[in-house]
Subunit: 406 residues, 2 copies
């Protein structure tokens, strides 16, 4: 641990203005929880974050940001001006959830635990950023750097990081952001310093179709697909560098009494290591090929053979921020100073994009605890102590990065 980072964090934490900010966070914790519930109950499926985005924009409006607006991709961006002549750093959380429209997003409360799809990943962070803005305002803190606050779209799934990709590669802030912090999911102990690379495919298996009884014996794309998914499920992958696969979403077929002519599955392949990801991708392609060949060998192709149409639907670059980088050290010092353990992880987050471009970036937690992300049983715990300590640690990290003006 660098003495410089620890000293910087200590200095921030000891300052009366930071203490005032934490007092505001503490006093307004219930309000923050209400914001979490409000935002969680506005569904925000992939490619349809618009309603939640506008709600967040309205909630952010009171907080003195300049140029608060929705950009061309659907991100909400707003600048909190620093003392002047500083650089621009960015603090983001994502608007989208993995859950399709129509999912029940009503929050259920059980003591300090709140249950709802998307509540921790990443809705709590959207409310935490608003709480930070209120605390900074109330404590009268001016930073050295400008801070661009962003509620971005398209972090999950087929969104393929489109929001942050736009921010760094196309939007008006392109080439202006010096460092990036994404606040994503509650747990403080996991600091993401590396970008898990991912390749995502939709594979559509096509065949001649036909009557389930009359045409029995013809090849079926369903059997080819099942064979491919089944083979993938038996592929060994290393624990380190962590490498994973998932057959995630499926569909197809027309009627229970018809051999389907088209079925599809979405696949997600990931690795911390570009080399392992390439190896897994090659194995995956070989499996699709082998399963199609096996089906065409097993049943009749007299009305046509089964084929596979492989479309890449996601490609997230790998990358990393060195563990000795100032940004990582600030986060580690701030989080440990607030009583949490820390460990460094690779993951696939909005930070993939800046990491892959060589811009320092990390993911930190939003405070408190949570679990079962991406499942309908997702939950967070808003018990105030760990929730507030986490929010204070995150704010200290942001202030260490952006500097506090004298």
């Amino acid at each position: 641990m660098s003495d410089h980072a620890q000293a910087t964090i200590r200095q921030i934490m000891d300052s009366p203005s930071f203490r005032r900010a934490v007092d505001v966070i503490t006093a307004e914790h219930d309000r923050m929880v209400r914001d979490i519930i409000t935002l969680t109950e506005i569904e925000s499926p992939p490619f349809n974050e618009n309603v939640r985005a506008k709600a967040w924009l309205e909630m952010a409006r009171a907080h003195g940001l300049t140029d608060l607006e929705m950009d061309a991709e659907g991100n909400i961006t707003g600048m909190r001006r620093g003392a002047g002549n500083g650089r621009t750093v960015c603090v983001a959380a994502h608007l989208d959830t993995v859950f399709p429209g129509g999912t029940d997003v009503k929050v259920r409360r059980k003591g300090t635990k709140l249950f709802a799809p998307g509540i921790g990943d990443d809705t709590r962070s959207l409310a935490v950023i608003l709480a930070w803005l209120r605390a900074l305002d109330a404590a009268g803190i001016t930073t050295r750097d400008d801070i661009l606050f962003v509620a971005d779209v398209g972090e999950e799934g087929l969104g393929d990081l489109r929001g942050v990709r736009h921010l760094f590669q196309k939007g008006q802030y392109k080439d202006r952001i010096s460092a990036f912090i994404t606040v994503d999911s509650p747990d403080m102990d996991r600091i993401v310093t590396g970008a898990v690379g991912s390749k995502r495919y939709r594979v559509t298996f096509n065949g001649p179709g036909g009557h389930s009884y009359g045409a029995f014996g013809l090849v079926s794309p369903m059997f080819a697909m099942a064979d491919a998914v089944s083979r993938l499920g038996r592929v060994p992958v290393p624990d380190k560098p962590k490498t994973t696969y998932s057959a995630s979403v499926t569909g197809g077929g027309t009627s229970i009494n018809a051999i389907p002519n088209s079925v599809w599955t979405d696949f997600d392949l990931r690795s911390e290591s570009p080399a392992e990801l390439d190896r897994l991708e090659q194995r995956f392609m070989d499996i699709i090929d082998a399963s199609v060949k096996a089906e065409n060998g097993l049943r009749s192709t007299r009305n046509g053979a089964v084929t596979a149409d492989i479309v890449k639907v996601g490609d997230r670059p790998a990358g990393a921020t060195p563990e000795n980088h100032e940004l990582v050290r600030f986060a580690q010092a701030a989080i440990e100073a607030h009583g949490f353990e820390t460990r460094f992880e690779y993951s696939s987050t909005d930070a993939n994009i800046p990491m892959s471009m060589g811009i320092p970036a990390i993911k930190i937690g939003s405070g408190g605890y949570g679990g079962r992300q991406h499942s309908l049983e997702e939950w967070i715990d808003v018990e105030p102590d760990a929730s507030i300590r986490g929010m204070a640690a995150g704010l200290a990290t942001v202030l260490a990065l952006a500097g506090v003006a004298e």
Copy 2:
């Protein structure tokens, strides 16, 4: 071949009134083809046959049927009164297709071949029945028996024969129908005298779900389902009695970066033999069980195990009309007298219901040729010679059954 059946058919075919009827069918063949196109282009997905049903009812209105109406299940029924004191026989075709709403049902024409989903199975038959009615009217033919003409719903797939089930078991004509002819699909050479039994299941595989990367290693219902489908695809079944299976429609999952918590597949199991069907069903149940157990053994169940929820969605009774029954003999004699070969088959049609109740029933063709049923490439050939000969053969069968009044 019974002399009685051949003699009856010969007498009908030699009668001036039948010849007039065939002349009308011939003269109006183009109109019948236009009716096929009109009806085919009104989509008629399972459980949503309403628009086509009403269109057919309007088209039938000119033909002197009494009590022409839609029944509680959605069938269109209309009685053509006989000479009086006769029994009631029923002639039916089905309104529904296997294709879901939104399928392109525009008819493409290539010479005498017409291509469109559902055009042969069973839309042509709906137009043929109208042509028969016009021919009977124009030729002034009165039958001995009353003939109930029916355009019924729910023959395909999950419809599970609901239209004809209602007709025979609940509706106003329950207990009144003495014999049943369903006109289904073009080919004349296939006379269905036996009902293929079927068992249909929707199997939903559930699991804990989770993040595709973070929760990698947890059990996935997708892998269990793929394994089950894959195992089913390798089950040997006898050619005779013909026994078949299909994994037909599938769906599930929420996002490409989530291990799904729920996926499902619809399965169709059939056999000419109740004993073979039971054997296949047991094998199927064993496979589901084995695949669930295998997945729970292969990956972690720490957040919950994979389970399978098996729901029966179709159960069509087997049955048969003896091949020496008068109705079968009439059809065979009429069809052969019109220059077609005949063979007897087992299938799953609207005739399953009366057959299972011991009511004489057969399926005959609507004339002409066709193929690729239940696929998007479905076609019929309306080349007039085979089309008209088929229609005449069918009409002769109906008249032999219902008797011609002196």
